[in-house]
């Protein structure tokens, strides 16, 4: 390992920006806030690029010990940073996409009163995310993990005046708590059994243990607990419910945190802990099953959503499911590859959606859009590229990574592949549905007036939205850059170059066997590739037919499906299920036992009883407090006499 003294600067720079803007922002000018908010992450990005330029797949990891933190007995956890190939990919994605979204935010949030606050939160998020990525031990990673949760909470509830935003923030935070609880238990188990949280030391100890082929041992437990944490952060079944609600936040936040970076932290964490998972095949299976189910489940919900951001949110959940599917198939590099491309096109989708929302004055319901192609061409074309990319049509980025995952999944178990390919079809369908509903046909928005839309969205422009209009170039610039990346980003995976780059991290035995299989059946691979391309075009065609040619058909189909359609529209009643299964018993139990029983019956009764008794005693003694000074003096004199008598008695005795 090599020491790199510049490593600590990457996370600390955004922190500096957040601090400066957070403290001084209220009185600074917009220009100053913008400069600070952009320059610090910008420098961090350049620094990351500079480090990356000297880093190849053969390089030894960098590390930097910044400061001592916890040293208790043999246990040791320091503020140390660590950079290997895996971290580098994440680092580039986070700083690069993050920086682009910062630029985008300057345009998107320009009119908001909380501009400085927003920029400060974004920078704060960057700090925690980079800490998470660059951490050298699980504890520092946990700091970043919790920190991004905090930033996410702050940004979801950014328009905290709105009740739904505030409660969405709380929902995200509380749901994440469940996941964090699992993560913490995993950390405790590690401390208990390995005595350390340092990645290299933990993995070194894990490597010496036998693979737990049957039953639930220590490593399986740790792996499952880590997966609980990852499911919370990365919105997997059963903890995905917070992510769609998190769309209450400003759109750049949805793009940065809830699509491109933070939600992928779970994937990163699982990939980082691959050694543990490789020694616990049971946990790995759980990861794969959860990922597959989530991918399919979320995709089906996505079909019926009408809110443009909700569609994208369920799409995100679904894509994250793909990544877990890959991890579960022990194809960690495929998962990370998809993570990266997904960051490009999903970030782009959200930013384009933001641009659309911006252009139509805060409207998010796709039924009230349509025909926007001629009003905002740049947005349309970039979004079209992203849609094609996510649908998995070559040669766009999504095709390469998704195909890689599907191929690896097929090698693990063909059921994964089957569900995955169906999901790919659904994905293609609902993404093109979104595209057609938004950009084609006639504009179905409200008549031009000054009073619509703005209040709901929270930002208010100086002029009314007479008709949809294109966004400013400060917003379109990042769109174009991301569109370019969505087109060409997939080629880094051409001929498994990406996988080889990550080999130093993931070169454990399992992936080697996967390599053999992959090389052994190239014809099968090409067949599967053809199927997935066909499925993608099939989805496109169906969307074209239903939402462009025969607009009357979807309603008829929905009516004929009846209950099933209702269930999909209502997201399979999962929120209601949770409410009745978990929240209601909890509330009822708390009410009956804790509130009525313990609090009122025991604590309040004690306190009230004490108070009542005190009142009785006081009622007797209060007559001493007549307010007459002379009677007070009388009591004092009597008391003095008593004291003197006591002292004399003690003296005599």
């Amino acid at each position: 390992m090599t020491q790199n003294p510049y490593l600590w600067l990457i996370p600390v720079l955004p922190l500096a920006g957040a601090t400066i803007n957070g403290i001084l922002g209220r009185r600074s000018s917009r220009t100053a806030i913008t400069t600070i908010a952009l320059v610090f992450p910008g420098i961090a990005f350049l620094l990351a690029l500079w480090i990356a330029s000297g880093f190849s797949s053969a390089s030894a990891p960098y590390y930097f010990d910044m400061a001592h933190w916890i040293r208790a007995g043999n246990f040791q956890a320091d503020f140390s940073f660590y950079l290997d190939q895996l971290s580098l990919v994440m680092l580039l994605v986070v700083t690069g996409v993050g920086f682009l979204i910062h630029i985008y935010s300057v345009g998107y949030m320009a009119e908001d009163d909380g501009y400085y606050r927003f920029m400060s939160y974004l920078n704060l998020f960057m700090f925690f995310m980079l800490t998470l990525i660059l951490a050298k031990n699980y504890l520092l990673m946990f700091i970043g993990w919790e920190g991004v949760g905090l930033a996410s909470y702050l940004l979801i509830g950014f328009w905290f005046i709105k009740d739904s935003a505030a409660s969405a923030g709380k929902k995200a935070f509380i749901t994440n708590r469940i996941g964090d609880f699992g993560f913490m238990i995993a950390l405790f188990l590690m401390i208990k059994h390995f005595g350390t949280l340092d990645f290299t030391k933990v993995f070194a100890q894990v490597a010496t243990q036998p693979t737990e082929l049957a039953g639930v041992g220590l490593l399986t437990s740790i792996g499952l607990m880590l997966m609980v944490g990852a499911a919370g952060k990365s919105a997997q079944i059963p903890l995905y419910v917070w992510l769609p609600d998190a769309m209450e936040g400003p759109t750049p936040v949805s793009a940065l945190i809830h699509a491109a970076t933070m939600v992928t932290a779970g994937v990163y964490m699982v990939a980082r802990s691959h050694v543990i998972f490789e020694h616990a095949p049971g946990a790995l299976t759980v990861v794969a099953v959860i990922g597959t189910l989530t991918a399919f489940f979320a995709a089906t919900i996505g079909i019926a959503q009408t809110d443009i951001k909700k569609v994208l949110a369920y799409s995100t959940v679904s894509q994250l499911g793909y990544m877990f599917m890959a991890c579960g198939a022990a194809a960690f590099s495929a998962g990370i590859f998809h993570l990266m491309t997904h960051a490009f096109f999903k970030g782009l989708l959200f930013l384009a959606a933001g641009s659309v929302i911006h252009g139509v004055g805060g409207e998010q319901d796709m039924r009230k859009m349509g025909g926007l192609r001629k009003y905002m061409p740049v947005t349309f074309w970039t979004m079209a590229i992203a849609t094609v990319a996510i649908a998995g049509i070559p040669p766009f980025a999504g095709f390469w990574s998704k195909d890689e995952i599907l191929w690896k999944a097929f090698n693990a178990n063909w059921i994964y592949w089957l569900i995955g390919i169906v999901t790919a079809f659904i994905t293609s369908f609902y993404m093109f549905r979104l595209l057609y509903m938004t950009f084609f046909g006639e504009y179905r928005g409200a008549a031009p007036s000054d009073s619509h839309g703005h209040g709901d969205h929270g930002d208010s422009h100086g002029h009314g939205h007479g008709e949809p209009h294109e966004s400013p170039w400060v917003m379109l610039g990042p769109l174009v850059v991301l569109a370019t990346l969505s087109v060409v980003g997939g080629f880094v995976g051409y001929q498994n170059r990406f996988e080889h780059f990550l080999d130093p991290v993931f070169n454990a035995g399992v992936s080697e066997t996967a390599h053999e299989v992959a090389e052994g059946s190239a014809s099968t691979e090409h067949l599967l590739m053809g199927i997935s391309i066909a499925v993608a075009f099939l989805g496109w065609g169906l969307a074209y037919w239903l939402y462009y040619k025969r607009r009357d058909l979807p309603e008829k189909i929905a009516a004929s499906l009846g209950g099933l359609y209702d269930a999909v529209v209502h997201k399979y009643y999962i929120d209601e299920l949770y409410a009745s299964l978990l929240i209601k018993p909890l509330v009822d139990g708390s009410t009956a036992i804790l509130w009525k029983g313990v609090d009122q019956g025991v604590i309040d009764a004690t306190v009230n009883g004490a108070a009542a008794e005190a009142r009785h005693v006081s009622d007797v003694t209060r007559h001493m407090q007549s307010g007459n000074l002379r009677s007070y003096a009388g009591w004092v004199a009597a008391g003095g006499a008593a004291v003197i008598a006591y002292m004399v008695w003690m003296g005599v005795r």
Partner: protein, 100 residues
């Protein structure tokens, strides 16, 4: 040469007179004067003990007591004036709300 306890008895008599004054007097000002009388009684025992132990600190204590008494008199009399202004009486038995 006279015994120390002569002074202490005198001091005690003054103090008890002060306490009794506090107990039986109705006029706030007189009660306040009783307090001063108690302070003086204590001061006498301070000085007597200072002479007995040949320690000047006792006299310094008396000095401080006097200073505090002066401050107390200033504030106390101001309070009495304020009370009189609102209650228009100096009888403590009629000032039993203990506020202005």
């Amino acid at each position: 040469m006279i015994p120390l306890y002569y002074y202490l008895i005198l001091s005690g008599i003054l103090f008890v007179c002060g306490v009794l004054g506090f107990l039986i007097k109705r006029n706030i000002i007189t009660i306040f004067m009783s307090i001063e009388l108690m302070l003086n009684g204590v001061n006498l025992s301070f000085v007597a003990f200072a002479a007995h132990w040949h320690a000047l600190s006792g006299q310094i204590f008396v000095f401080f007591v006097m200073v505090v008494a002066a401050a107390e008199a200033a504030v106390g009399l101001a309070i009495i004036i304020a009370v009189y202004r609102t209650r228009e009486t100096l009888n403590v038995d009629q000032v039993n709300l203990l506020k202005l």
